[in-house]
Symmetry: C2
Subunit: 314 residues, 2 copies
């Protein structure tokens, strides 16, 4: 079974890590949101790509949801002394990633090539692809403060401004990165990881040609919300501010036209009935992944569920 998984940051990275522990490397391709990417201190920073790769490499900081384990902060201290902006945490080892990526970009390499090279160094065996090599910038449209670049909203303002919409600057001109369309073409099923629908999965789906290709395949999504709350990040707050009650059901509705199957938390069991009415097959299980064992267990259940979906569609 060939799997393509779409992922944003922490939640997505955890399920992807579980999948990578169960599948053969050649059977899993991860396509990662790059709408969060931004330039800071002149450096090209790709938060979701790094979170996914660090997690797969076993380098991720387990407590934080960003950055590397055993990180040091000498450079950030030096920046602080000099009065530079320190709202975005740049660890020393992490900075190596940003610096070398920036150097290679300036030397003419593209993000997908660089990601492949880094994965090789880090011993990541599954294929990790940025959704696009072109720059796409997620902009958060707020009710009171105009439009904020994503990291400004997410990290600097800690998701406080009220959201009324999103814009993905550059998306119309973006090409899927090399390998993306090929991976989709041969996929038996596509998994939407438990990532933020608005700012992690939507930008991937909005890459020209991407959604159409996804629509030609069975899709299983895993809810990023449990009992109306995000495990991490602003997804639930965004739903509320957009006038939608946050729930596993709301996420299923978000993806409705594309979904064949939907995995939600056992505690949201009562929402299964309505989702089933839309012709979507559901699996209610424990979707929280506090440990590596839980990642693996959810990945295994997800794959069994995927096989069912594929069989039923035949």
């Amino acid at each position: 079974m060939k799997i393509v998984a779409l992922a944003g940051g922490v939640g997505g990275a955890k399920l992807v890590d579980g999948l990578a522990r169960v599948l053969s490397p050649q059977d899993l391709t991860v396509i990662v949101n790059t709408g969060d990417d931004f330039t800071h201190y002149g450096l090209k920073i790709c938060p979701d790509l790094d979170t996914v790769c660090y997690t797969l490499a076993g380098l991720a900081n387990p407590g934080m949801g960003w950055g590397q384990i055993n990180e040091t902060w000498q450079v950030l201290q030096s920046l602080k002394n000099l009065g530079g902006p320190t709202w975005f945490n740049l660890g020393d080892q992490d900075l190596g990633t940003h610096l070398e990526r920036t150097r290679r970009i300036q030397a003419g390499e593209c993000l997908s090539q660089i990601t492949r090279a880094f994965c090789q160094v880090w011993g990541v065996q599954v294929t990790v692809l940025p959704m696009s090599d072109e720059i796409v910038s997620t902009q958060v449209i707020t009710t009171l403060e105009g439009t904020l670049p994503f990291q400004e909203y997410f990290v600097h303002r800690q998701c406080q401004p009220e959201v009324k919409g999103f814009r993905f600057t550059g998306i119309e001109q973006a090409q899927p990165a090399p390998g993306v369309m090929e991976a989709l073409r041969v996929a038996d099923i596509i998994i939407f990881c438990p990532s933020n629908p608005w700012v992690s999965i939507d930008p991937i789906l909005r890459v020209p040609g991407f959604r159409e290709m996804v629509a030609a395949h069975p899709v299983v999504a895993v809810s990023p919300l449990i009992q109306g709350q995000a495990v991490k990040g602003p997804a639930a707050k965004m739903y509320r501010e957009l006038g939608i009650t946050p729930s596993a059901l709301a996420v299923a509705e978000h993806y409705r036209e594309l979904l064949s199957g939907y995995i939600l938390d056992r505690s949201d069991q009562q929402q299964v009935e309505e989702i089933s009415r839309w012709g979507i097959i559901t699996l209610a299980t424990n979707i929280l992944m506090p440990t590596v064992e839980e990642r693996r267990r959810l990945a295994e259940e997800t794959l069994v569920f995927c096989e069912q979906i594929i069989t039923q569609r035949r």
Copy 2:
């Protein structure tokens, strides 16, 4: 007595530090070579400016001649892991300087402003000015390998290629940095620190209008060579490759038209006679500065000598 000192890297920084320990801050302006500046990993790096400022701030690594004391190397290790070029040593604290400088340049500040801000943070009280806010790039013309950017020659190739000349790209368009001409105008005397004549002092003198302004003042130079050898760096090797026997005398001849006074090492005493014949007043003393006390002692002797020169010219 108002002093302007022209300086490159280590030797220059040591004498400047001595002068700063003796003079009132308002009486010393240091003008630093920026021909060595380059871009690496997208960062604006100013080796001479940093060496001078770190030395004045008491932050310089005493053993190395570059970088900061108590430095750590986490980022460089990360770059090495990822296969990035590591020939230029980027310490973690030092990287803070390069990152914040790059950020400010990209935000529209100029190098002289940034240098002033950093000096304030570092507690450097004397005025340190880059020779120019515009980019000037020292190029080393070699006999066998064409033209190499200075840091490529100096650090990456460890000064091995044979030199046949120098080019200072951008020098014709460069303006003296704000404050440079004013400092020269009110100077009672100008000191050429013991820095490389070819690649540290010459680029400063080549900034349009600079040499003419220097020529209107008494100038005292301190030899960077002792017994035909550079204390540090490729000055002696360059002289040889350019067909000139390296010596204190050769340096005096290099600056000849501009010099009122010349300070050379006691061990080069026998060269005094010829230099005197050119109408240059000499002082033979101990010019090696292995300790902070020696920096101070040489600075004091230099200032007494400068006063003599000024008195004699009246």
